[in-house]
């Protein structure tokens, strides 16, 4: 191998090193350490951890709360992902058109994204509060009142889904807006000359062209549906009776309220593997339908 190539290689690796160090230290090493920890028992100063093999995983399979949060998380994903992505797309097409006060509307749609999740949750807590909350006061004008939105296991998860959609749609809208603006206006002119209707144009031109964005947004939405739990701390703390608890929130509880790092590591491994499978699946499945330019 000529020495210049070696030098080039070394040069390249040196450039990568700083990023690699951080990636390994904060992403890869913790992931592997977590996997390792999941095979050990809970450790305290008095009772050091010992190797227990798959025992933590066995415990997990019989843990009712675990299955409940998994079910909740699936419903949460089904509830938030399609709705927020569709809404984002509609909002983006709406504010991409020529309309008066366009800047204002765009800003209004984007506002929820800027607000910190904790602040949002505090606002919505008072929306949902029975009797004095915004929703109840509005409903009381029509003679309904006293709905205990967050205190009822049947409604609590839906309430959280609605809030999440409100929070997320604006964020995804920005990506769609950028994608829409990169579509050449000539396409629309040509389509109009050919006599294509607006719906036909959307279905056959716009939608396929923004497919890469959709893939990106979908992956983000899936990750978010497992990742976003900040609001639970304020709104419900996972209650009542775990009816609104999500997998990551449960992991937090196990790790920092029960101080059972081993079991928390086990749950984390499950979360990581699930997310990895979903992401890979999305890429493989959607890759054929996505046209990159």
């Amino acid at each position: 191998m000529p020495s210049s190539t070696i030098r080039n290689q070394a040069y390249g690796w040196l450039l990568l090193t700083p990023a690699a160090i951080f990636l390994i230290a904060f992403t890869h090493y913790p992931a592997i350490a977590t996997l390792g920890q999941s095979f050990f028992s809970e450790s305290t100063v008095i009772r050091p951890a010992e190797f227990v093999g798959l025992e933590n995983y066995q415990i997990m399979l019989t843990d009712e709360v675990f299955w409940k949060v998994v079910r909740n998380n699936i419903w949460y994903a089904i509830g938030t992902i399609p709705a927020s992505v569709a809404l984002a797309m509609i909002m983006a097409i709406w504010v991409n058109g020529k309309l008066a006060g366009r800047g204002l509307v765009r800003m209004a749609y984007f506002t929820p994204t800027i607000l910190p999740m904790i602040a949002v949750a505090n606002i919505w807590l008072f929306f949902y509060t029975p009797d004095i909350g915004l929703i109840d006061q509005f409903l009381s004008m029509f003679g309904f009142s006293g709905r205990n939105w967050l205190g009822n296991p049947e409604t609590v998860l839906s309430c959280i889904i609605v809030m999440t959609i409100w929070k997320e749609a604006g964020f995804f809208m920005i990506f769609y807006l950028a994608a829409l603006q990169s579509i050449s206006p000539e396409l629309e002119e040509a389509a109009r000359i050919e006599g294509a209707g607006r719906w036909y144009y959307f279905r056959r031109v716009t939608f396929p062209l923004i497919m890469p964005t959709t893939l990106f947004v979908l992956i983000n939405a899936v990750i978010n549906s497992f990742k976003l739990v900040d609001h639970l701390f304020i709104l419900t703390k996972g209650g009542p009776d775990n009816a609104s608890s999500l997998l990551l929130y449960y992991i937090y509880e196990v790790a920092f309220s029960f101080f059972d790092e081993a079991y928390a590591a086990t749950l984390t491994v499950v979360l990581l593997v699930t997310l990895a499978i979903i992401a890979i699946g999305q890429f493989l499945l959607m890759d054929k339908r996505v046209h990159y330019r």
Binding site: T44, I132, A243
Partner: protein, 430 residues
Amino acid sequence: MKSVKRYMAVMASALSLLILSSNGALAATELTMYYPVAVGGPLTKVVDGLVADFEKANPDIKVNAIYAGNYNDARIKALAALKSGDPAQLSVMFSIDIYELIEQDAIVAFDDIVETDDDRAWLKSFYPALMENGVTQGKVWGIPFQRSTIVMYYNKDAFREAGLDPDSPPATWDELVSMGQKLVKKDASGNVDRWGLMIPSTGYPYWMFGALTMQNDQVLMNGDGNETYYDAPSTVEALQFWRDLGDKHGVMPANTIEWGTLRQNFLEGKTAMMWHSTGNLTIVKKNATFDFGVAMLPAKKRRGTPTGGGNFYIFKKSTPEERAASMKLIRFLTAPDRTAEWSISTGYIGTRPDAYETDKLKSYVMEFPPAAVARDQLEFATAELSTYQTGRVRKLLDDAIQATLTGAKSPEEALGSAQDQADRLLKRYR
């Protein structure tokens, strides 16, 4: 490129400032203390003020008092700091964290630190009920600081409107139900405009439940923290009563009631009575637009409430000098005068009888009698639920309570399975 340079310049000057300031503030002993705030109000300012007073009186000790979020956050931060090797020397943490901290070998007992007879006498100067959560294995591990009990806040105007005597709030469970029913106000179409009572069941359901069980003459755990009594008949009875308040008697909304918004509900007149921490007293006093009263919780077989709130702990990873300085700080902050001041500005209980003998607190209680209710109730108070594996054991009870209140399970069923699981967790500590 220009902005990068400017950024570097700013960073460099900030760094040099940092170095300068840390050199300038070199003190003989430096203490780091975490403390939580669990109720509303600008408590951080009060703590900062107290700490500043201490530093003025003890120029050789520097105290970094760090606000660490709620009780859970404070414990996590303190334990994380401990593991990272840059520990705090003392902290205010949840009184019920004691077993967790002992199991992590994180704290030292005050009995092992005290040196003088004066110190030993000081250990005995607090209300016994407030010491219960801080004592195990025959030693004192926690010194009461921001301590509370549950009291009943009630709207005197609502009492008058319902034709009840505003000076005799319900003293028994039966009265709670009968008076509560009179206090419920409905509009023309039958919607409830004002509830009789609200007992919060999110956030800290086990705490409220501790009051109901104590009133039924039943404690939830033993003093060694390795046994729970979740499925005792009187425990089940107490939970049944809680559920009946909403389901059967119609005094309270059904399902769970949010801890965080309850105070607002009360202040807006949506409930005539609420059970809440005494830590809310000052802020309710400030914001109530109606005449309100504070009463002890009612009795079934006896009166009862758990205590709650935060204790001082001293960490094991500390030098003898730091321990001595920590003791000094704790003794300073729990001195009768400061305790009185703290109690007035927060509503937390004065932790020792002699605080109520100070002029400050005496005159405050005189002009605002509700401030004494929590103190008088201490006679009936018991420890807050706290065991080994306390997070899990507590969550089992929380879930059982919420499952019952939302109608998912019967009290027997919910508490029975909670007890089974608690037994499994606590077996190895017996």
